[in-house]
């Protein structure tokens, strides 16, 4: 699969999808290589379909991931996963071609008519061939990796059903978090100085109870999907979400409802890219970037930006 980001495929075009059916056999893990190289890179995601959960996002990357091909391996712990698809979106400009290659899927058991106490031969996962990419850019995956036959791959997703579980999961880079319940906060969640945090909200809600801000994002790289952020409150700015520093934030299919910033900016979101007034931004090679896609902002209240205030810095002269 190869997505060419040149005109007319930018800005913000997609979804570009590649879907495969697994012929009625469960997938238990998947390994693939991807290339996300470019200054204006969009998003590549992997979704799986199960009869119990429908389409669920299992993995996602946004932004420039460097010149080299990268490998991703993830376990799929959703039962009855029979289909998967890669979904790509471009971003603001043409420097954002997206490619995948060498997709290997480890399959579980074919549904059996009855269970035996101890099968004489263990279920033998098998790898199926590549998903027939339309264009297969050349690269050199490590020859020692081979197919993922029989590998035991730990689940990569942390389930969070309480505020403390959620906060704990947000403190290490690379964590993928799946919400298991609505959460009412007594203090704001903090996502600070971490990268590659992914939160799958599963349509659950983070609720500030009308008393506290819901989320602080400080110099962090975060992807959040399908989450409701509601009833956050701040006397100053950002009732729902405060974003600061050089954060890279993607919000997909999220709702911001009834958040309030009482006297200042951004009832739902205050994204403040301003640095110290004496900071010369030319010394830095990146800026805060926020992608907000398929989101809904309703009933939020603020003084300057009822729903959202985006702010940047007046550069030092």
């Amino acid at each position: 699969m190869y997505v060419e980001a040149s005109s007319p495929n930018f800005p913000l075009k997609g979804p570009f999808e590649l879907e495969a059916s697994l012929g009625g056999v469960e997938a238990t893990s998947i390994t693939f290589w991807y290339s996300l190289f470019g200054e204006t890179m969009g998003t590549l995601a992997l979704q799986t379909f199960s009869t119990t959960s429908g389409w669920v996002e299992q993995w996602s990357k946004s932004g420039d991931q460097g010149e080299d091909w990268q490998m991703a391996t993830l376990g799929i712990d959703t039962a009855d996963t029979f289909k998967l698809k890669f979904v790509a979106y471009t971003a603001w400009d043409y420097l954002g071609d997206i490619a995948i290659d060498d997709v290997n899927i480890t399959l579980g058991m074919t549904p059996a008519p009855s269970l035996t106490t101890f099968p004489s031969s263990s279920p033998s996962p098998t790898a199926i061939p590549s998903l027939d990419p339309t264009v297969a850019p050349s690269h050199t995956p490590s020859p020692t990796l081979g197919p993922s036959l029989g590998l035991t791959i730990p689940p990569t997703t942390l389930l969070a059903s309480t505020a403390s579980q959620l906060q704990h999961a947000l403190e290490a880079s690379g964590n993928t978090i799946s919400m298991g319940s609505d959460v009412i906060l007594t203090t704001a969640l903090s996502i600070s100085n971490v990268t590659a945090i992914r939160i799958f909200g599963n349509a659950f809600e983070i609720n500030g109870g009308g008393k506290v801000r819901c989320v602080n994002i400080l110099d962090a790289e975060v992807f959040i999907s399908n989450l409701i952020i509601s009833n956050g409150f701040s006397f100053g700015s950002a009732g729902g979400m405060y974003i600061n520093g050089f954060s890279q934030v993607t919000l997909l299919d999220c709702s911001f409802l009834q958040n309030e910033a009482y006297v200042l900016s951004g009832g739902a979101i205050f994204a403040d890219g301003a640095q110290d007034p004496n900071t010369d931004m030319a010394e830095y090679d990146k800026y805060m970037t926020i992608i907000i896609r398929h989101c809904n902002f309703t009933g939020n209240l603020g003084a300057f930006g009822g729903a959202i205030r985006f702010n940047f810095q007046v550069r030092k002269q």
Binding site: P11, L12, W92, E260, A261, Y262, V263, L264, S265, G266, G267, A268, G273, A274, I291, I292, R293, H294, C295, N296, F297, T298, G299, N300, L301, G302, A303, F304, G305, G306, A307, I308, R309, F310, N311, F312, Q313, V314, R315
Partner: protein
């Protein structure tokens, strides 16, 4: 931002500043809004739906409708902003002045192409569709129709108005 809905938000909670009921972009922000709906937002002061101050904004295929403010019911542009607005409709917004859009800031540049300003209501009668106080404005292949009050209002200080 793309494919987002911004509805029923208010800039009204503070006694100090109440601007930009939906979205504010300020101080050098680069903002792109594609296929968004800005619906029934309210600001006590200015920019019921959107308020852009000193920012670079591109809007395409958006719907700005039923927003209210004192000035700029749908949109206010001010303070050296650059706005490129394409295939966007400003419908049924309300304000005292500049119900659809209020354009200000002598260093601001606003380009409207294939836009529609219709059924907006300016209670003071000036610029129901657009009120251009200052700045450089280009309007091309656009419609300004069925507004209550004058369709478009230009002050002598405004720069070029093409199309």
């Amino acid at each position: 931002m793309d494919n987002c809905t911004i509805s029923e938000n208010k800039a009204s909670s503070s006694p100090y500043a109440t601007t930009g009921g939906g979205v504010v972009a300020s101080n050098g922000v680069n903002l792109t809004m594609l296929d968004c709906t800005v619906f029934r937002n309210f600001a006590i002061k200015e920019g019921g739906g959107l308020a852009f101050f000193g920012s670079h904004v591109r809007m395409e295929r958006c719907l700005i409708t039923e927003n209210q403010a004192l000035y700029g019911g749908g949109l206010i542009v001010d303070s050296s902003s650059y706005l490129s607005c394409t295939e966007t409709s400003y419908l049924s917004n309300e304000a005292v002045r500049g119900a659809g859009a209020y354009i200000s800031g002598s260093l601001s540049t606003s380009d409207f192409e294939e836009c529609t300003f219709a059924h907006n209501v300016a209670s003071e009668g000036s610029g129901a569709g657009l009120y251009i106080s200052s700045g450089t404005v280009s309007i091309e292949s656009s419609s300004v129709l069925n507004n209550t009050g004058s369709g478009a209002y230009f002050t002598l200080k405004s720069g070029a108005a093409d199309g």
